[in-house]
């Protein structure tokens, strides 16, 4: 028995060994079409991508040696694409081994490996989930993962306006940019100013939207309130109008000199015009107002749905026990809402943390701060945008991207651990 078991692996092992050259193992297993197919794909892969690998890896290490022939950034991109394609190739290479081994095992057990048509069929059945996810995954790799990797790589170069093709090359500089963020005074103070406001912005703007949304839902949900449908439609309007339009409208209304807020509303109340766009503190107030206006309807709508799903008998039982209105609210309604809506409330916070549109479209992250690349109301993402698009400090922008990602992922993981909703996966 022992010997038989040992022997029974021999085909599998030989087939796998032969598969060092893709296809040979399959040929050994007498899967002719498959073997030749694998071989051809392997040859095409190696010959087709050889120059990409050659060029890519050279470029990745050196970032170019000659001006103006080499463009460091294109070389870096090619290098990363080479890495990705190599990764995908290795995955298929591994699957080639596995396939040869498994079919060899079948021979060892006295079965016949499947014929070509059969293996296409079984490919369809056993690998069906892979078939389903591969289009989405491929797109994700090239439009999301590759750009993120590229940004991360840039953080370790000195790519900026002064290291741009065709006149100059960029170089790997390790953690230099990160060091500078924390040691160069102007960078450090800007970084912590922006980070501080980003955190305050996220907390206050989201909490306001959530509170107003829940409160309004409860108000409209009152049994004896009339015209419920009308109120609900009105309160949803801010969500229905495209956000960028609303932000630009408010930017006009809050204009210091001719905006309606100063010339009509405050004027009617007898209050002096406020410098909404030129004083950072006032811009922040205006931003919080506009974001509350934009953000509460979503929470309002979801809360309304949750309120309608609270079982009526809970309240009936509470009334029997002589609960007051406040007790009903604080002991039944609110806990129910919060428990049901935790994930949606969390997304409000992550949304505002990355809420580029309102900061940039309302007042360009401004008012401008002297000697600083960030404006008085810039949050991390809008600062990164400006560094990239306006002051060409690409490496700095990329380094900040990494810090931002670490920050967000850290908080999210902590949150998930706390709520335990991750376990289910």
């Amino acid at each position: 028995m022992d010997k038989a078991a040992k022997q029974s692996k021999s085909h599998a092992k030989t087939a796998a060994l032969l598969s060092i050259i893709p296809g040979l193992g399959q040929l050994y297993n007498k899967q002719l079409i498959k073997g030749i197919g694998f071989l051809i794909i392997a040859i095409l892969y190696v010959t087709g991508f050889w120059s990409l690998f050659n060029m890519g890896f050279w470029g990745l290490f050196t970032l170019g040696t000659e001006v103006p022939r080499d463009n460091s950034i294109f070389l870096l991109a090619e290098g990363l694409i080479a890495v990705l394609i190599l990764g995908i190739g290795l995955l298929f290479y591994y699957m080639n081994f596995r396939d040869a081994y498994q079919n060899g095992e079948k021979i060892d057990m006295g079965q016949h490996p499947e014929k070509f048509v059969g293996s296409i069929k079984s490919l369809f059945n056993t690998n069906y989930p892979y078939l389903l996810i591969s289009p989405g995954l491929l797109l994700l790799i090239f439009t999301v993962i590759f750009p993120i990797l590229f940004s991360f790589a840039l953080a370790f170069t000195n790519y900026d306006l002064y290291h741009t093709a065709p006149a100059h090359l960029a170089d790997w500089v390790g953690f230099n940019t990160f060091k500078q963020i924390f040691t160069v005074d102007i960078w450090r103070s800007t970084f912590f100013d922006v980070l501080g406001w980003t955190v305050i912005w996220t907390l206050v703007a989201s909490t306001l939207s959530v509170t107003i949304g829940i409160f309004m839902a409860i108000v409209v949900h009152q049994k004896d309130l009339r015209l419920k449908k009308l109120w609900r439609t009105v309160l949803v309007l801010p969500w229905a109008v495209p956000g960028f339009v609303t932000i630009l409208i408010f930017a006009g209304m809050f204009n210091d000199s001719f905006g309606a807020v100063n010339t009509v509303i405050l004027h009617a109340l007898g209050i002096h015009p406020v410098s909404w766009m030129t004083n950072a503190a006032w811009t922040k107030v205006a931003l919080l107002f506009v974001q509350s206006w934009l953000g509460f309807p979503y929470i309002f709508v979801v809360t309304t749905g949750v309120l309608q799903s609270i079982p009526e008998d809970l309240y009936e039982a509470a009334i029997m026990d002589g609960a007051t209105a406040w007790q009903k609210f604080s002991k039944i309604t609110l806990p129910f809402i919060l428990a049901q809506m935790a994930p949606i409330i969390i997304t409000q916070y992550t949304f505002n943390f990355n809420n580029f549109n309102i900061i940039y479209l309302f007042n360009n992250g401004g008012p401008a701060v002297p000697n600083s690349t960030a404006g008085g109301t810039d949050i991390l993402v809008s600062w990164i945008y400006k560094l990239t698009m306006q002051s060409n400090q690409y490496a700095l922008a990329a380094a900040l991207t990494i810090l931002l990602s670490v920050f967000v992922i850290g908080i999210a993981l902590w949150q998930f651990k706390r709520t335990n909703s991750f376990k289910e996966g």
Binding site: Y130, P147, M253, I344
Partner: protein, 282 residues
């Protein structure tokens, strides 16, 4: 008894007052924009809520192109990009989510963790990379590239939502269909898709409104005024140093907002149930 009734009146009364105040806060900016769009001239200095001598001139102006102004082109660009992104995201997301929900395969757990991480890193923190990519592929100004980037960005979060929703559809339905001889593809199309409609509506809405409101990514890829989408076009209109035109902007804003708002309110029911159920389960 008397005081209970009095309390009730105070509660209801203050509720109505609050709702009226909220309504004013909501309608005022919208009414102001409509007013501005009918006002004469370019600036807002003399603008009044109800125009003294209303004019349709700005709406007529929208149909014309001048210099770097192509309102209808932007409108069509935005519509095209949003619709195509929506259709592709719905297709890719539901197929991917179906695989993650119903099959147990190697790499599944890692895939889910990857999606979870990717949805937290904002896609446009990779701005430079996307711009370099566009240059290398000679696809600057390409709507096609922009659509692919949008669809890619839609995948992680929406797949997560959709997967959570499909998880809540009983597997026994699949199993009995399997016994009846249905293949996976048929099960997906005839059982999962119809039952997941509320979440499909949510994904469709995200796929449509995401690109419609995006400024950061589109401003990196689209450099030629003719290829702009509405957010870039309208933003430039009121930030033009050579003379901002708020009234023209107002007309353009109204023209895009009204159809979008109407469709949104009509379709609201469809995705609200998906949001409440999916959001709380996901």
């Amino acid at each position: 008894m008397h005081s209970i009734k009095k309390n009730k009146n105070i509660r209801l009364g203050s509720s109505y007052v609050l709702l009226v105040v909220m309504s004013i806060l909501i309608f005022y900016p919208l009414a102001w924009t409509i007013g501005a769009s009918f006002n004469k001239g370019n600036s807002l200095v003399s603008t009044t809520l109800i125009p003294k001598s209303p004019t349709l001139a700005h709406y007529v102006e929208l149909t014309k192109t001048s210099g770097s102004f192509y309102y209808f082109q932007w409108f069509l660009n935005s519509l095209k990009i949003s619709v195509v992104t929506m259709v592709l995201s719905v297709a890719l997301v539901s197929v991917t989510a179906y695989a993650f929900s119903r099959f147990r395969f190697k790499g599944r757990k890692n895939g889910l963790v990857l999606f979870l991480l990717l949805q937290m890193i904002p896609q446009f923190s990779a701005l430079i990379a996307l711009f370099v990519m566009a240059q290398m592929l000679h696809l600057v100004n390409s709507h096609f590239l922009l659509i692919l980037i949008y669809v890619g960005g839609q995948i992680p979060m929406n797949t997560y939502l959709m997967k959570g929703y499909i998880d809540s559809i009983p597997v026994s339905l699949d199993e009995s269909a399997l016994l009846d001889g249905a293949g996976y593809t048929r099960i997906f199309l005839q059982i999962i898709v119809p039952l997941a409609k509320p979440m499909i509506a949510v994904v469709a809405m995200n796929g449509f409104t995401g690109p419609l409101g995006d400024f950061a990514l589109s401003s990196v890829i689209l450099r030629d005024p003719k290829s702009y989408t509405l957010p870039i076009g309208l933003y430039n209109l009121i930030n033009d140093k050579m003379g901002a035109s708020y009234t023209l902007f107002a007309a353009g804003a109204i023209l895009i907002s009204i159809p979008v708002a109407i469709v949104f309110i009509l379709l609201q029911k469809n995705f609200v149930s998906g949001l409440t159920e999916g959001g709380t389960k996901g």
